[in-house]
Symmetry: C4
Subunit: 363 residues, 4 copies
């Protein structure tokens, strides 16, 4: 399957197209589907159209340096691999391929609790990382503690707590097209792992949800008590939640709506970004994911104050299209596009990127 020359992919759309051709309807419903009418899933990218770029010329640049650090980890660029579940569904190498590609690119990668390979296998495939573990709270805290402990022991350097999935969103496309995923890959981290529940149960007048939904912000302090790893909160869309996360000990937050897979009609990530940066940007690192398809999207997010910018669905496309080499190509494409965009706007490094780059197209 890897015989495709990654160099043949010019843009992320090419990866998407090849991925679609290689995927069954069921798998594609998983990859592309969002919640409900997919308003948020499509807004995530469309909302970047609110912004134009204002270049600065003759800036005397001979090179562009994309390097930065994410919670102290030096990385080759602010682009990171956002966590997505079940990567084995789209390509046999699954998270192992993703990890090798990301590590080779010196890019931060986050891996899901619901990975198809175990976190130890992923770590072994690409020991140098950097690599963070995405955590879904488990129904009982002992199981959560076990996951965190394994992550720490196998060399993950951050815990990314997803807070926007107390229950699974209404994934209509998945339900419609994906009911019969014929050969589901097992959960790599063990058969005892509990994913976000799919269906709320109605108990008389009241809908009862899975127990892990009962968590409050105190869970962060509790997690802080069982690990020395920095805690990151993923799924933040408001200034208030950002402040709560940081007050409870988060070292970074990821502005995200889960790729539009959870709450349909949730604000687009890029539309939520500025308020979160204004609220906590001086105390914590702020990242975002959702809708990134081009280097210029990344530059917009950086200009609005993001320190890191994640890609989720595109990693699934890349994996499906070419396995590890597909992911390598994805990362290299985005880094090159970002570098060219910075060159053309006269920015030689990330410190030179700020809001003066942006013009509101509706103004």
């Amino acid at each position: 399957m890897d015989e495709v020359l990654p160099g043949g992919f010019l843009t992320l759309s090419d990866l998407e197209e090849t991925a679609k051709a290689r995927s069954s309807t069921e798998v594609w419903a998983y990859v592309e589907g969002g919640a409900g009418e997919e308003l948020t899933a499509s807004d995530n990218h469309a909302a970047f159209r609110h912004w134009s770029l204002l270049p600065r010329h003759l800036a005397g640049i001979r090179s562009v340096d994309l390097r930065t650090s994410l919670l102290g980890h030096p990385v080759s660029s602010p682009i990171f691999v956002a966590p997505t579940a079940y990567q084995g569904l789209v390509h046999s190498t699954g998270e192992v391929g993703t990890a090798k590609a990301a590590s080779a690119a010196r890019t931060l990668a986050m891996f899901s609790t619901l990975s198809s390979f175990s976190m130890e296998e992923i770590a072994a495939a690409a020991p140098t990382g950097p690599r963070w573990f995405q955590l879904y709270l488990q129904p009982d805290f002992a199981a959560t503690r076990e996951l965190v402990g394994r992550a720490e022991r196998s060399g993950y350097s951050g815990i990314v707590l997803t807070v926007d999935a107390p229950v699974l969103g209404s994934r209509d496309r998945q339900t419609r097209d994906g009911v019969a995923i014929r050969s589901p890959v097992p959960l790599g981290n063990g058969p005892h792992i509990v994913p976000p529940a799919r269906i709320p149960q109605s108990d008389g007048e009241v809908f009862v949800f899975p127990p892990d939904a009962t968590a409050t912000w105190e869970i962060l302090e509790r997690l802080g008590g069982i690990t020395r790893l920095p805690l990151v909160v993923k799924g933040i869309l408001t200034a208030d939640d950002a402040r709560r996360a940081v007050a409870a000990g988060a070292r970074a937050v990821v502005v995200s709506n889960h790729g539009g897979r959870q709450l349909d009609r949730a604000v687009a990530s890029v539309d939520a970004l500025a308020a979160v940066v204004a609220a906590v940007g001086s105390q914590a690192e702020v990242y975002m994911d959702g809708g990134i398809r081009r280097g210029s999207d990344i530059l917009v997010a950086l200009a609005l104050g993001a320190r890191g910018v994640g890609v989720g669905r595109p990693v699934l496309w890349a994996l499906a299209a070419g396995g590890e080499r597909g992911v390598s190509r994805l990362l290299s494409l985005l880094q090159t596009e970002l570098a060219v965009t910075m060159m053309l706007t006269g920015r030689r490094n990330l410190a030179e990127v700020g809001p003066e780059l942006l013009r509101d197209r509706s103004a």
Copy 2:
């Protein structure tokens, strides 16, 4: 006709699609058609796109409680069945099916003066209700009084006066496609019932309309004199009319434009809601209907201050698609979607829903 498994309907669009397949062109023109160019009919749903949702996470929720009361009647959720005429046209069970499904779901249902079954038959089919009677003023008040009296005697617990139909709107699609409805069901409440007139009569320089159009807000006081039931006014789109309604004795108002079937170019219901809530929300209950297709639409309306949210056309879809079971499925779908949406926005009950949930997408 009821052999379809309601569980096969994942969304309201599925109900619509099945309903369309099962309906004649004539009936479908009645179900879907709006007034004129159907600007308002389509705006009603489109206007929800003005708003995004801002979730609150880690809110420590294990369950979501949708219960509320509408004019003191406890209901399982704020969702109610808005009145629509001629339900026998779309399914043989007509309003009887609707009443059974709504009552089983402990949902408020409003039934039209123009029902296909008599109000007594409807009441007998589902005695526990709650159930309100929608009133079209009759040309002479004695006939109006008779209708109200029958409603009171047969256990309806509210009178909903529709004020936006002094004359029938220009239903071009209905006229075009629906002229020859072949087997019109008779009016359940008796052959003497006078529907809103279809065609204005031109008398020289002046257009003369049906006599019931002469009513003023005093009619509310007059109605108050002939019934102990609370009066609700349906069709309000401005703060001024809301104030007039409440001043004249209305206990609740329904922000509505009759599903875009009356005044084309009328403001979308959700766009009119906030001003009405601001004007009378402290003195009366404010409901709305028009354009509700998803749980997230309902949450937007609630966040703008609606206490109840009605569905009209979707009930016709549900009836056409599956009779009583179709309506049950509709109500269950919307309640589940609303519950999931509340869970994902961190609201455990309706008291926690407010305008801080909303972000204006155009801002």
Copy 3:
């Protein structure tokens, strides 16, 4: 050609469709074509979408009275027939049919200098009018004086000076499709009439235009010196021009962009209306044309302050579709739609129509 039952036309779109089917490509290019990319031609109607209507209910109305007066002439409604040239191209009865239909409807009609029948024939066909003469300035004033004199003698009661056609606009569609109009009807007012010139002549570095373009606002005073008829200026789009027109003696102005046939990218008529009303509404009557397709469009224009609302292209559709009976149907359709719309918004006459009816949809 008149065998079509006018009652078969439910909306103006029906008239348009039938007209198109009955017209040659060349004639249709004349009827529908606008200037350039037809931005203004399409904006004229689209701009009405900026507004929603806010009804007032239970207003105690039994009848709607559309009567008004235009410069003192009592008319059955504010709807008037805007002048369009060459009506003989679209139907053999041409302006004679239009005049009969308008007069029978007690509707003001304006007839073009470029009519296919002579102004005297038009007057003889429908003596009671009211009827105004649209004037294109002729290259020498004697010819203009002759036209005005004929109009006065044959019973026209107003002179409508078109000011937006010092040169013919770039009618690309007409040029493309209409070059070979095979049987051009002659100019009814005589072969010596000079239409707005089609092509500017370049004289070295400078483009030289037809001599009538040299007119200034003094022309109004000059016209006032040769006729006792009131002067109306058509083609106003700004407050400044409106003030100049009124200062120079105009008793009324028509906010118009010539149906988008002259200056492409000109502001839509309805977008220009409020500023003109604010500038001169207390001193002169303000009318508008451009984009009217529905009764609700008319109500929007009236609410913005127009005293009269004209239809141009729709009259050509109506003529092409059914001759005189087509125009009668058009006028009756629009009057009925306006009456229904007023009933549904709770306005019993034009004095009750004001800006409180409107809501800006973008706000």
Copy 4:
């Protein structure tokens, strides 16, 4: 190829259509392609839709005079030929045809460093000009100096330094469709000319770009030291860069985003214009290019303060469609459209064109 009668082209769209029919896929990708998703390439024209025109009538105009001067050179109109590379690709006469047509029309033309004919051949073909030389900085200054010297000696009267191409943009369409341009024309100015580099090189963590990208605004002073010709800076999109250019000696700036071929998501030229005029309009001449397709586009740009308005892609269309005669037709079409538009807005010369002509359509 020139047998087509230029008079058959009514609009620029006709030229585009014919050009497309006559071009190979590869050449067309070069002509039409923009950077990335071509957001900016399409915004350039679409952004003119932000503006409507407000005419002034009865202005007493018999002629329209489009003459102006650009840096002291009298020209027949403000329209100029913007520089585009490789004109020999689209038609055998290449820049020679363009030069003849422009000179015959007494229109300023700018010729690219990357012309298919040598600048001397271009000059010889149309000695009277006016004609400016577009400069791409060469890797070493001696080569730059040689180019400037040749331009000066062969009668070019201005040097237009392009500052928005320190590296070539991501021309995805060109890469996709145009890889195999089969008979590339040689660079007319000599095989030693270095175009903007196509691919950034990644050196470890850092992207290294071509040496000419190292230039700063001091380059303008350096150029001023080697030529007596006035310097113009092309590619300005912000007030800040405009001020830097003028401070460094530029006599004029061209607001431009390279036709959307360099930085995708860059602000549309017409959206950037007003701020540049406000910043430097009193000290330097401000021109613009990007998205001009109609005379009314030109009038909008002039009303926003542009002194000259350039066309780039349309010149390639015109060349491809009809060689020199195609370009003549293009220039004549635009001049006529501009003249008619000015006549219809009541402006007799460019001094009468100002911002009062414009109305913001979104307001």
